[in-house]
Amino acid sequence: MDQNTRDELLKLFQGKLNRAMRFYLETCSRCGLCTKACHVHESMPHVKYIAAYRAEIVRRIYKKYFKGQGKAWSSVGESKELTEMALEELYEAAYSCTGCRRCMVYCPFGIDTQMIMSIAKLLLVGAKQEPEILTMLADTSIEKGKSLDVFKEGFLQGIKSLEQKVVEKWKGEADATPIPIDVEGADLLYVALAGAHSIIPAAAIFNAAGEHWTLSFFEAVNFGAFVGDPTKTKLIMNRIIDEAKRLRVKEVCICECGTAFRVMKQLSGKQPFKVVSITELHARYLREGRIHLDKNRFKGSITYHDPCQIARNAGIIDEPRYILQQLTDDFRDMSPDPKYNWCCGGGGGLVALGEETLDFRMKSSSVKADQVRETGAKILATACENCHAQLSDLNDHYKMGVDVQFLSSLVADALVHA
């Protein structure tokens, strides 16, 4: 690695060193308490999968260039130069961490490994060694935001073709549009994913609840966050913020996508609208009596996988359980304390990398498969696209014998009139 490249990468590193990051990099005592926290380590016990070890790979570079100790007495903290080999280690650390933050629950200080890994991901982006597909997907999202008119017509046609399926699930007012788009003054902007599964059930529920809503032109998923590029993360998020402001909506509802929800909820700052997850909204409709569900619609017990970015990292924990109580008398919680729920193993962009990561995802998530099996449930519900994809892969790989479902699909399928 030439000096110029190293200097540029160190500038990126420096830019990440805010107060919290410095705290995290200065505080670890390497006590090893996080050893049992990571699903990857618990499934494949190797030291490189311990949260503290991953963080130490970044910390050693920090000591070398940003701490007097690393300059004066390099060996005492095993500080390390930023080299091509270091980048390879950073890649392995960053892309074997799903960013679930379960290790924070174990750490006596609460050190956020995901945040430390964001340095690793940014350095990889700077060195153009990040997973190319994630950057391509992020760029496509940004491009769509810049030239919406090019995409608009095709999008509208695609949505039109879904309307009949929405009506089949819930027949609303005769003159109402099943999937309203671009409605100025709507109460709620729904940001879905690319795919009918993210739009049809949600639309049916909005219509059943009598919601004054409109569908976003943009998909919720933020590939900028997956690849760890803060500039792209912001550009992708800003498309939705701008649309919400233009339409003057009161609420922005994010579909079942953990990262999209957390980014929008925690990074969008003070806005004239509120950010809610679709799970919160469905719980609210039920509490307010705006929708009703048939409790006998599904046979057999149901368990629920708390998506890390929605539950442990964003606090949506009671709402899905409230919804499930309306759907079944046989709900089986996976973990006595949701903050200890195992990650599905597909976060941090791993599912988006598809086949490339499949073997690792399966091997690193055997504890999740065991946890699901122990519930003895027939239906495994979740509220995140990534988790759904990963759990479906696990279901096939480990022959778990469960029916993996989106929570919103269960709600839509169980809708009944009062």
């Binding site: 805010n18 107060r19 410095r22 670890c28 390497r30 311990i50 006596p108 956020d112 442990r312």
Partner: protein
């Protein structure tokens, strides 16, 4: 030899405290002047007061108690004993009525506090020789534990000699005289401190203590000051 004793017991002590106080202050100011994180770093669910929760996380170490009870026992023994020894050293500088609420001879604990501290430091050290802690540890982790162990060992030996073996050549009064003159910037070394048979223990205790203080601001021991703010981040 007397010159070496003098250097360790007087100028090195001033230097160590200067490095410790200035180094720690400068590093803390530099850390707290960094911009805040733009988003919350909270972990859910949260119940009760966030500040009280962070205080409990910092001082009672509930996550360690839950996941490694044996480590928790030694950590609690270590931290409480360390605090009691700091109180003991403060009492050498003067009479603090508040510390004598529970009437005692200086130092507290009849020598057992030092013993407990030594045992817990050995536990921390030896657990680092076993995987996976061995794989996570860096030289700093061992050096600091060894340094602290040597500091506590030589300090405690003086206490044990007085308490358990009636060694009377070096008394609490002699330590007091030495420390008070240091504190008032008129350093004087009583003969008992430099000429008695156990003087080498005091000199080694002070030497390793000085090194520990000088390393403090530049090592992970800064967690003493950072643990609360870091835990507060997790509590939101």
């Amino acid at each position: 030899m007397q010159t070496v004793y003098y250097i360790i017991l007087v100028p090195m002590v001033y230097l160590a405290f200067a490095v410790f106080i200035l180094g720690t202050a400068i590093r803390l100011v530099a850390l707290f002047r960094r911009p805040k994180n733009p988003s919350t770093l909270e972990i859910y669910p949260q119940k009760g007061s966030k500040l009280l929760g962070a205080l409990a996380d910092t001082f009672l170490l509930p996550t360690v108690r839950k996941h490694n009870p044996l480590l928790w026992v030694f950590l609690m023994i270590f931290h409480i004993s360390f605090l009691l020894l700091i109180i003991g050293h403060l009492e050498l500088l003067g009479d603090f009525r508040i510390f004598q609420v529970w009437e005692h001879e200086i130092f507290l604990g009849r020598g057992f506090i030092g013993l407990l501290l030594c045992i817990s430091l050995l536990f921390f050290l030896f657990r680092r020789f076993v995987s996976p802690n061995r794989d996570l540890s860096v030289p700093e982790d061992y050096y600091l534990l060894i340094l602290l162990f040597l500091t506590v060992l030589f300090g405690s030996e003086m206490d044990w000699a007085r308490r358990w073996y009636d060694y009377g050549e070096m008394s609490v009064g002699d330590y007091r005289e030495y420390l008070t003159t240091l504190w008032h910037l008129r350093p004087a070394l009583p003969d008992a401190v430099t000429m008695s048979g156990h003087s080498f223990m005091l000199v080694l205790h002070v030497f390793f203590g000085n090194l520990f203080l000088m390393f403090f601001p530049f090592t992970k021991i800064m967690h003493s000051f950072l643990s609360l703010p870091v835990n507060k981040l997790r509590r939101g």
